[in-house]
Amino acid sequence: MSLRGGCVSFGALAVAGALTICAAQDGPPRERPPRPSTRPIDEQAAPLKIAFISYANPQQVAKDSDAIAKYLEPYVGLRVKAFVTSDYGSSVEAMRTAQADLAFVDPLAFMMAHEQIGAKPLLLEVYAGGKPSYYSCIWVRKDAGIKDVAELKGRTIAFADQVDMSGHLLPRSIFVDRGLLPPDKLEGGFFKQVYFAGGDEQAIRAVVNGFVDAAGISQFAWLLLRPEEREQVTVLARSIDSPSHLVMARKGLPDEICGRIQAALRALDRDEPQDRALLGKLYGVEGYVEAKMGDFAEVAKIAARYGFVKKPEAFAAGKAP
């Protein structure tokens, strides 16, 4: 989602909308691994530092992140320190300068962090409906009479932000795959005008208000509209699935610690009230599944078209992080 206009919690949005059509049946089976054994906290060791991202209310995120830190401490056996950043870039920079061991990021930030500083994927967020993925859509007004993306030639479109996976690169790929836009340049020759609205809400409101003909943004964007406004927009096309937002670890974080973090977070069960409360503090996600490099294979190819990722083959299935 938009870096400039603010990052977005897909988890909470998905809960708000009970996810989109057909998602409920597609999720993986809800098997929760047991929690790892606890261990005494080594007060002498350096604490584990986690960068949380602020989606809406930094003070609340700071409070929530402390609760998560407390939950993790006995499973990791280390003191856990949480801090809040305003965007993914800051989280990656914190990891680059050894100020963060773990960070909550989106797929694009992870892939770039992997290439630049060797970050490893640990856990994918699972959204309401049980899917560790999302997609982007091309939204148009229902009354516009537009039935195919090809009909957008010579019309206007709003994306969220230039450097944004769900708010630009993924929806752009819909046009690229149809041969309507060049695969390797961020240009908009097909359209009369391309706007970067600054966020999903601005982009979808631009459609509702008739400022633009279409918006290329997240599948969840319509949930930002008021109910009567939602009736006015429809999905013209959807992108491939992208892996969901994730927890990544810095290069060199011991495998044992990574494994314990994975197990502790994967063990959270949304049917248990205490766990559900913790998941609510983790951006409202439904749970976590283990992340693999291969999850990013397809989106890495898209990011590589525009130079955000240099070696997409590093994300092929079976590759070690």
Partner: protein
């Protein structure tokens, strides 16, 4: 992109202050927590836009509730002060002066009258409009100056857009071409900011020339139409009419809107409604008149404009027959849970010209509670309902069958069962000792009350009413010796769930009510006696399961819509096509209002189809195609029956 945490922190602070986008996200996140999408959060506006729109709404009313305008003037001034403290100071001084002139008492001896309402309202509105345009202009000017600082300019841009949002409820209707053009200007400015990129990749430079060009276009429009020369149109509603715009549509009608801060959402969890027939196990499919009344109670289509466009129905204020304590409309309400029902907004023809908001009454047990109206002015519920429709909400003269239905439905509203009361209204053995002591005080005659007790009017064996009107001194009279303060005795049953109290909602708690009587009538009750009396009244006003135990209401709502439709054959036999219209429209509207509550959106197409069937039935009914209407109603019933299990 090389960032420090310090820089990140600074950006964070900027966004907290300026981010309408983030506010919007927060709204959605909040929505997620409620798990009830039919609860529509209030529109998130920049504080200046919110203050301007609310004040404009209030300034259009007769009377103007000036004490509610003052804070909004203050909000605008506060945001202006950060940009130009001298101008903000002049603004607030001038407007407060106008308000003071409008609200001062006239002096007949000197022949000096207060500034007429309409004149004062116009002056305040015009000055406020010019002020808001100035704030927006200044923010954009500063944004241009800060183009070297991406985060600062973003903050200023969002703030400017938020301030110009003051006019967003008017421009789309009266100057749509300009609105679209300006909308694209905002998008172009956002685009011109380029991108900082991510981790050193994807950066795009700021397009300074484009940003300035687009900003100027917005400023030019705002200055030309809402700048120093701005004046409202004589004889028309106060609104930011861009009268000099070549694309201004002079014949445009502004859509009905409630002001920011209004809340017409229903309660959640829902109050538990007890219909006598349901409690007795009656087959609902054979109670057509009651079904018609239920539909009408939930229908904005029995009202006129603007209630109809705003989807206001009886059920909005009397949610499931119970007081909606959160209902509020600035300018019409003094506090949540009440409204001046003889106002110039909903039914100008019946406006009484003075601000007299009334606490929304609880309708439980209403068949036992005649006369009706806070001052008991109407003996008949039927006449009272007609008055609400015609004279409070501007509706057409109701069909007699419709009134029959509404009265039949409302006569089914039962009180909450209360295990602490015996049938004769005395306390049962389950009541506490404190309540029992309070009962003695309740029944104790006081000389200070002309030898009467609380129970003299709130007769326990008569559902705690005496069907009379009394002036207890809670109403401020029109003049020193006027006799216009008598009010109908309200029941105490269920009262625990209907704060605030008194006809105007001026007493927040039952304890406060008892203190009021103790003070005004110098009853001399001790602290212990006040506590006991309060315990008694709370016990009388208690009830079992006052609220439903779930926030998922869709299933129950859909069942109710089917109940509405059970009146169809009766209405057809009676030839009541208008009422069939209202039934179809109401069901379609209600489905669309509640469809977002669906827990699994996979079934959304079914709800869309049900609403569509009612749209089609309405259209067919309008065309007199009765066979088609019958077929569509049949399809609705079959579709609902087939999918009912999944629609939760």
């Amino acid at each position: 992109m090389k960032r420090t945490q310090l820089a990140a922190g600074r950006r964070l602070a900027t966004r907290i202050i300026a981010g309408p986008l983030l506010l919007a996200w927060a709204t959605v996140l909040l929505g997620a927590a409620t798990a009830a999408a039919h609860i529509v959060p209030s529109e998130k506006l920049h504080p200046v836009a919110e203050a301007y729109r609310r004040a404009t709404f209030i300034l259009n009313l007769n009377p103007v509730v000036w004490e509610q305008v003052g804070p909004d003037v203050g909000t605008i001034a506060e945001h202006w002060r950060a940009l130009d403290s001298a101008a903000a100071g002049e603004f607030v001084t001038e407007l407060n002066g106008i308000i003071a002139e409008a609200t001062r008492r006239g002096d007949e001896a000197n022949g000096s009258a207060p500034l007429p309402r309409a004149v004062a309202a116009r002056q305040v509105f015009e000055r406020m409009t010019r002020g808001v345009a100035t704030i927006g202009r200044e923010l954009l000017r500063r944004a241009e100056q800060e183009l070297g600082d991406r985060y600062e300019v973003e903050s200023l841009l969002r703030a400017a857009q938020g301030v110009y949002g003051s006019f967003d409820d008017v421009l789309p209707a009266v100057d749509p071409q300009a609105y679209q053009r300006l909308g694209r200007c905002w998008l172009a400015m956002s685009s011109a900011l380029g991108s900082e990129g991510l981790l050193g990749r994807g950066a795009a430079q700021v397009d300074r020339e484009r940003f300035v060009r687009e900003a100027r276009e917005i400023v030019e429009y705002m200055d030309a139409h809402f700048g120093p020369q701005f004046a409202s149109i004589e004889g028309r509603r106060l609104a930011p009419w861009p009268i000099h715009s070549p694309t201004f549509d002079r014949n445009a009608v502004l859509p009905a809107r409630l002001p920011p801060g209004a809340n017409t959402n229903k309660q959640l969890p829902r109050p538990r409604q007890i219909l006598n027939m349901t409690a007795r196990g009656v087959n609902e499919s054979e109670t057509a008149l009651i079904a018609l009344g239920d539909m009408a109670f939930d229908s904005p289509y029995i009202f006129g404009e603007p209630a109809r466009a705003l989807a206001i129905s009886c059920n909005t204020c009397h949610n499931k027959s119970i007081t909606n304590p959160q209902f509020v409309v600035p300018g019409l309400s003094a506090r949540a849970g009440g409204m001046d029902v003889s106002n110039s907004f909903f039914a100008p023809h019946a406006n009484n010209g003075h601000f007299n908001p009334l606490d929304i009454p609880d309708l439980r047990g209403i068949r036992f509670l005649a006369p009706y109206g806070r001052n008991g002015r109407l003996e008949s519920l039927r006449e009272f309902v007609r008055n609400v429709i015609v004279n409070e909400f501007n509706g057409p003269e109701p069909d007699p069958t419709l009134l029959d239905g509404m009265v039949a439905y409302m006569f089914e509203f039962d009180f909450l069962p209360n295990p602490y009361l015996n049938p004769d209204g005395s306390l049962s053995g389950k009541a506490s000792a404190a309540a029992r002591r309070g009962e003695e005080i309740f029944r104790r005659p006081f000389e200070q009350m002309a030898g009467m007790s609380c129970a003299s009017c709130h007769i326990p064996s008569a559902n705690f009413v005496d069907h009379k009107r009394h002036d207890i001194g809670s109403v401020r009279g029109a003049s020193e010796h006027s006799k216009d303060g008598a009010l109908d005795t309200p029941t105490l049953l269920g009262i625990r769930y209907t704060p605030p109290y008194f006809h105007d909602g001026s007493q927040p708690t039952l304890r406060a009510v008892n203190e009021w009587f103790n003070d005004v009538y110098t009853l001399g009750l001790s602290e212990q006696e006040l506590a006991d009396l309060t315990s008694y009244v709370e016990t009388v006003g208690d009830g079992v399961d006052a609220y439903e135990n779930t926030v998922h209401t869709l299933e129950a709502e859909l069942e109710e819509f089917s109940f509405f439709l059970s009146a169809f054959e009766f209405l057809e036999q009676q030839g009541k096509r208008d009422l069939i219209d209202a039934t179809c429209q109401t069901i379609a509207l209600e489905i669309r209002a509640h469809k977002w509550d669906l827990q699994d959106y996979a079934h959304m197409p079914v709800l869309d189809r049900l609403a569509e069937l009612m749209d089609q039935a309405y259209a067919a009914n309008q065309n007199g195609a009765q066979e088609e209407v019958r077929a569509l109603v049949r399809e609705y019933r079959e579709t609902y029956r087939k999918h009912a299990e999944a629609l939760k």
